[in-house]
Point group: C2
Chain length 369, copies 2
C-alpha cells in the first residue's frame, strides 16, 4: 500500500477515492471487460462507497467476480434494444454487469426524453447494478428528472407471507434544482436495507423489531434470522404500520423491472450470491431494471421549474426541527455530504472488506492503493 492508504482507526483503513476506483477498474479489466466498460463499472461501483452506501460498493466486488467465475456475468455484453416506441425501449443486457448495462439503458431513456419529452427503458438479462441513485442522477445534467429501480434476489416477505418473494427492490428519483443541490431520493422498499442488517450481524447485535421476521413469520430482533428461513420486512414493518404499502412498492418495482422487460421476477429473480443455484424453472432472463427520464421543460419552462425547486428545497431545509435534532434533511443531503467529505479524506474500509480486496488483488496481481 502506498500513501493513498491511510490508517483511520485501529480497526479501519482509509483509501483515496481515485485509488479505490482504479483498483476496481483493474479488477473489471482483469475479468475481461473492455476499457470503457471497466471504467464505467468502477465509477458506478465506487460511487456507492463515496456516497456512504458501503454495502453496495467495493464490499461487493469479489461477489461480482464470483458471479463471473460461475459464468453468470458476461464481461463483454452486446447490450441492445429489442423492442421500442418513440418514448420507450426494452433492452437485453446480454448477462452483462448491471454496472455496465444500467448507464447505457439510462442513456437511451435520456435520448428518448430529448426527442419526445420522456423516455422509459425496461431492462432484462442484467445483473445487480450498484446503487440506483447513481443511475437516476445521470439525468440531472440534462435538466431532466431521473428515475431508476431494479428487482433483486428474493429476501423479502410480502405482508402476511411466510415466504420470501421479493427483493429489497430500490427506487431512486433525482430532481434538479437551480442553485440548490439536486434532490436525490434513493431507498430500498424494505424497512431496512440488507446492508444494515449485515452490519448488525458482524457486531453480533440485535436488530430493532420490525426489520425482519423469523422462519415462522414472527417479527424478531435476531439479526441472523435470514440465515434460518426468515425474511426482511417491507417498509412499514407490520400491517398496522403500513407494511402493505411497502409490499405494494416492492411489487410495482418488481413488475416494472422484470415482468415488463422479460426478466426473472418475484421468487424467480436470480440470487446475487454465486453459491445459490439459479431458479430451476426460469420465467425470464436475469435481473430486471426500469429507468425513466423526463425533461422538466416538457411540463413547464425549465427555469421556472428549477427556481421553484430551489424554493421547495429552501423551505423544507428551514423547517423547525423536533427537539434533539439539528435540522430537517432534504433527500440526498447525507449522501452528498458524505461524498464531499470522502473525496477529501478518503474512503474508510472495514477490516473484512479490506482483507477481501487484498485477497482479490493478490489473486489477480493488482495492488490496492
Amino acid at each position: 500500500m502506498d500513501s493513498s492508504v491511510a490508517s483511520a482507526s485501529p480497526s479501519e483503513v482509509t483509501i483515496s477515492y481515485p485509488a479505490l476506483r482504479q483498483f476496481a477498474e483493474a479488477v473489471f479489466l482483469h475479468i475481461g471487460c473492455l476499457p470503457d466498460q471497466a471504467h464505467l463499472a468502477a465509477e458506478g461501483l465506487v460511487a456507492a462507497d463515496l456516497r456512504g452506501i458501503d454495502s453496495h460498493g467495493v464490499a461487493r466486488l469479489s461477489g461480482y467476480v464470483r458471479l463471473w467465475e460461475a459464468g453468470r456475468v458476461n464481461p463483454r455484453p452486446r447490450v441492445r434494444v429489442v423492442h421500442q416506441t418513440p418514448s420507450t425501449a426494452t433492452v437485453d443486457g446480454d448477462a452483462g454487469l448491471g454496472l455496465v448495462v444500467a448507464p447505457q439503458a439510462m442513456q437511451w431513456a435520456i435520448e428518448r426524453a430529448a426527442q419526445v419529452g420522456t423516455g422509459w427503458v425496461a431492462v432484462r438479462n442484467s445483473n445487480h447494478f450498484g446503487i440506483a441513485g447513481h443511475h437516476a442522477m445521470l439525468a440531472l445534467p440534462h435538466a431532466m428528472i431521473g428515475l431508476a429501480m431494479t428487482n433483486a434476489s428474493p429476501l423479502v416477505a410480502p405482508t402476511f407471507s411466510q415466504e420470501r418473494l421479493l427483493g429489497t427492490n430500490p427506487i431512486a428519483v433525482a430532481i434538479p434544482a437551480l442553485t440548490q443541490p439536486p434532490l436525490v431520493a434513493d431507498f430500498a422498499t424494505t424497512t431496512a436495507a440488507n446492508g444494515k442488517l449485515e452490519i448488525l450481524q458482524r457486531k453480533n447485535a440485535d436488530a430493532p423489531l420490525g426489520w425482519v421476521q423469523d422462519a415462522d413469520g414472527q417479527s424478531t430482533t435476531n439479526a441472523n434470522a435470514l440465515k434460518s428461513g426468515g425474511a426482511l420486512l417491507p417498509l412499514g414493518s407490520d400491517r398496522e404500520h403500513g407494511s402493505h404499502k411497502g409490499y405494494c412498492l416492492g411489487a410495482v418495482v418488481d413488475i416494472l423491472s422484470a415482468v415488463l422487460s422479460g426478466a426473472g421476477y418475484g421468487p424467480w429473480a436470480p440470487p446475487f450470491v454465486s453459491f445459490l443455484p439459479l431458479p430451476a424453472d426460469p420465467v425470464g432472463d436475469g435481473l430486471g431494471h426500469f429507468f425513466g427520464a423526463m425533461r422538466v421543460d416538457a411540463f413547464r419552462p425549465a427555469e421556472e421549474f428549477l427556481r421553484h425547486m430551489d424554493n421547495w428545497i429552501g423551505r423544507f431545509r428551514q423547517a423547525r426541527p423536533v427537539p434533539g435534532q439539528p435540522r430537517v434533511l432534504i433527500p440526498g443531503d447525507p449522501e452528498r455530504e458524505t461524498a464531499a467529505a470522502r473525496a477529501q479524506t478518503g474512503i474508510p474500509l472495514a477490516p473484512p472488506v479490506l482483507a477481501d480486496l487484498e485477497a482479490l488483488g493478490q489473486k489477480m496481481g493488482i495492488a490496492l492503493g
Copy 2:
C-alpha cells in the same frame, strides 16, 4: 327514503350503489356542473364508497359543496392543455372539481400513450380528486399500466420536522393481467391515512404509536393530536423504521404533482376544508396531480406481459401465509372484494355521514335513495 335504503345495524344504514351515485350526481348538478361532468364526478366519488375507502367518498360530498360555496370550486371549468410534447401535457384544471379534471387528464395521458408508447400529464389549478386508484384504473381497458398521484393539504411532518409540510400524497398504480383481476396498488404515503385517524377520533380511541406526532414532535397515541398542532407521520413512522423513505415518497409526489405543473406545493397546498384560509403567499395554482399511462406493448407483446402477470399474481396469491392469517393478498384484492359485495348489498353509511347527506339533500331538495 325508499326501498334502496335498508337498515344494516342499529347504528348504520345501507344505501344501494346506484341510489348513492344518483344522489351525488344530483348534488353536483345542483351546484352547476354540466350533466356529463356531474355524472363523471359522482362516478369517481362513489367509487370510493363502493371500494370500501369510506373516508374519500360521500363522506366528503358536503365538503366539496362548501368549497363551491366559498368560491374555490368552479363547477364549469374549461380544462385545457397549456404545455405539451408528444409524450407529456400540462393541464390547467380551471379550479374545477378534481373528480372532473382528473379523468380528463388521464384521458390525455392515455391518448399520448396510444401515440408514442407512454403519456404523462401534470395538472395544476385543481381540487381533491377522490381516490387515486379510480383514475389509475382508467388505463386498464387499454392494456396500459395506469399511474395517478396527487398532493394534498399539509398534514404530514417530514422526518425530524415539527412542522407539517406535506399532504398524505397518495400513489396509485394499476397493472392489467389476462385472466386474473388487475393489480391495483393505492395508498397514502403516510403510515396511516387521515381517514383511519378520523375513525379513531369518532370512537374516542387511541391511535397506535407511529401514526402521529404531537405539537412537540413526539410520537403519541392521541388520535386528536392533529387538532393541537400535531402531524401525521410518513410511512415508516420513525427514522429507525424508515420514515425518511415515506418522506421521500411524499416529497416526490408533491414535486411531480405540483412543482412540475405549477400548483401550490408543500405547505402552500390549499387546504381541503373551506374554513381554513388559502395561503397568503401562493407559489402556484390550486392542488396538483400527476398521471401516467404506459402501453404494455410498448415494452413487450401484450399477451406475453399479461400471461406473466397472471403467473405473478397466481404465485403471490398462493404464498404460504404466516400463522393466523388466511392468505397473502394481491394489491387491490380487498377493495375489489368489497366492491363486489357492496354492489350486491349496498353501501353502509355511518350515522354522521347519513345525517350530513340528509341535511345536504334537504337544503337542495334532493331525496336520498
